[in-house]
Amino acid sequence: MSIGAQFYVTTILVYIGIDIIACLGLNLQFGVAGIINFAFIAFQAIGAYTAAVLALGPPFPGDFQHYVGFGPLPFPLPILIAGVVGGIASLVIGVICLRKLRSDYQAMVFLVVSLIATTVATNTNLVGGAAGLSTVPKPLYSNLGLTLVGYQWFYAVLTGVFAIAVWLAIRRITNSPLGRALRAVRDNEHSAQAIGKNVQALRLSAFIIGGVIAAISGALLVLFISAWAPPGWLYPETFVYFTAVIVGGSGNNLGVAVGAMLVPVLFLEGARFLPTVVNPTFIDGMQWVAIGALSLAFLWFRPIGIFPEQARGPLTDRRGGQIERVRALLVRAR
């Protein structure tokens, strides 16, 4: 493989890993717990900014970028601390947004949170303002002594390791009574309360864990691309992840991983290969239209996604209680 091709492939692999991580986090919130978090991208951004600032260290006098800096901290601390900050932000925002509001109103509030986050990041010097942050050092780059393309492969593996860790952590939730309780809350919160479930605590837990995972995905992304700015995490980006979750199969981890490969990566990446017509921004614009259309098509014709949520019996039964898919396929979710 030529060096150029290796660059391309590794970059795609890193993006796939990061998008799978993000989609698993969103799936826990939306697919499993039923939280319509339209601010998801903001939590990815919180992780990215945190990791960037911690990897960069404080700005030096006369620095071209302005931000509140700490560190620099060695790998993997920027990523881990980004996760913690994402969790704390989720706790604060979750306590405000998830209590006393019905889920459709929560969705509206989250959208507003996303807009506020972009406005604050753009119009203050907390994290580089409108220009954002750049020259974020790549973790372990100087220590490893790899070639540029060798480092690309290293980062692809690193992302894969994180993706597997997140997958296992999430599966441990979804394949346990905790996951079942979250799905009950999603399906009918009043009934869940009536059988003794602390709906607010359950929702908040799923929201926080999803927030931690979103932040980790953002941290991995910024350390790979070395730059982060508000135009990259505007609120429509959240809908790309939502579309991935819906297309793959909301509530099904495997489906969501497939959705993450199909939508943010192949769908958006594939558009690059289309011939330029009308003007160069036309394809970019059409990507958004296509994402919306794809999302609508699935909600309309196949709301259960490519891989529907697994029907389950008791978790102690064979295969963790998973029931053959055929039956689940026969019943279209209400």
């Binding site: 346990s176 905790l178 009950a184 399906d187 059988i195 003794g196 019996g313 008791p314 019943v331």
Partner: protein, 261 residues
């Protein structure tokens, strides 16, 4: 027939004192004070808008009262949220079926198992070994309940695909999984085929014989007569009468309120 079994010496399990709920200018429940004896089925009847479901909501903790108190097994539960009342043994069902539609029937039951270690973060960290025995026991209980209600063959169906009658049964079964001391049943036979309704009746009588106390909000007076040891008649948010069905049938006031509203 069950009027005969009314035993006034049974201990009181639930007491409401001056319970009031207003919605805007409308007083839905107006200073309702009542006592429910343990081990009985207490019916609540009344015309539409009488405040029956609101009363049930206040007792279950779904609605905060404007004034008054609710005591359950001697404890003041007025300020407890629904889930904590449920954990204390006060479990309700809903007028409109509230099944977990995208979960299987047996999952609907399993999720109601109280005190599940696997639902806690401690259980998460400790892993499967911490909760699998409890899960196996819960599965056994759930299957026994499904058999009892002749629903064993629906175990693997998605709850959303059940018929209306089956959903009503599921609601009662799920409430039973939560190990209730007292059930608050909001029209469990509404919109159900008469044969299924009779099955529900039989199950409720069995549950009473098992020692579960029930408050039953119901429109169908025949069922109320067959099931309830005692009946409370409500109209315009107030308790109009309280007694056995036989006693109430002789009351012109009750007949007028029920028929005229």
């Amino acid at each position: 027939m069950n009027a005969m079994t009314s035993l006034s010496q049974e201990p009181t399990i639930l007491v409401t004192d001056g319970l009031t709920k207003r919605f805007g200018g409308q007083t839905a429940v107006d200073h309702v004070s009542l006592e429910v004896k343990a081990g009985q089925i207490t019916g609540v009847i009344g015309p539409n808008g009488a405040g029956k479901s609101t009363l049930l909501g206040l007792v279950a903790g779904a609605l905060p009262p404007d004034s008054g108190t609710v005591r359950f097994r001697g404890d003041d539960v007025t300020r407890l949220p629904t889930y904590r009342r449920s954990r204390a043994g006060l479990v309700r069902t809903f007028q409109v079926s509230g099944e977990f539609a995208k979960m299987t029937v047996i999952e609907n039951l399993l999720v109601a198992t109280p005190r599940q270690v696997g639902e806690t973060w401690q259980g998460y960290l400790l892993g499967r070994r911490a909760w699998q025995r409890q899960e196996a026991e819960a599965a056994e209980r759930a299957r026994a309940i499904l058999q009892r209600f002749n629903m064993g063959n629906t175990e693997r169906e998605l709850a959303g695909s059940l018929s209306g009658g089956q959903k009503r049964l599921l609601e009662v079964m799920r409430a039973l999984m939560a190990e209730p001391t007292m059930l608050l049943l909001d029209e469990p036979m509404a919109g159900v085929h008469p044969t299924v309704a009779h099955r529900v009746e039989d199950h409720l009588l069995e549950l009473r014989d098992d020692g579960i106390t029930m408050i039953l909000v119901e429109h169908e007076l025949g069922a109320v007569g067959r099931l309830c040891d005692r009946v409370i008649v409500m109209a315009r948010g107030r308790v109009l009468a309280d007694g056995t069905m036989d006693e109430l049938q002789g009351s012109h006031e009750v007949v007028d309120a029920y028929l005229v509203g």
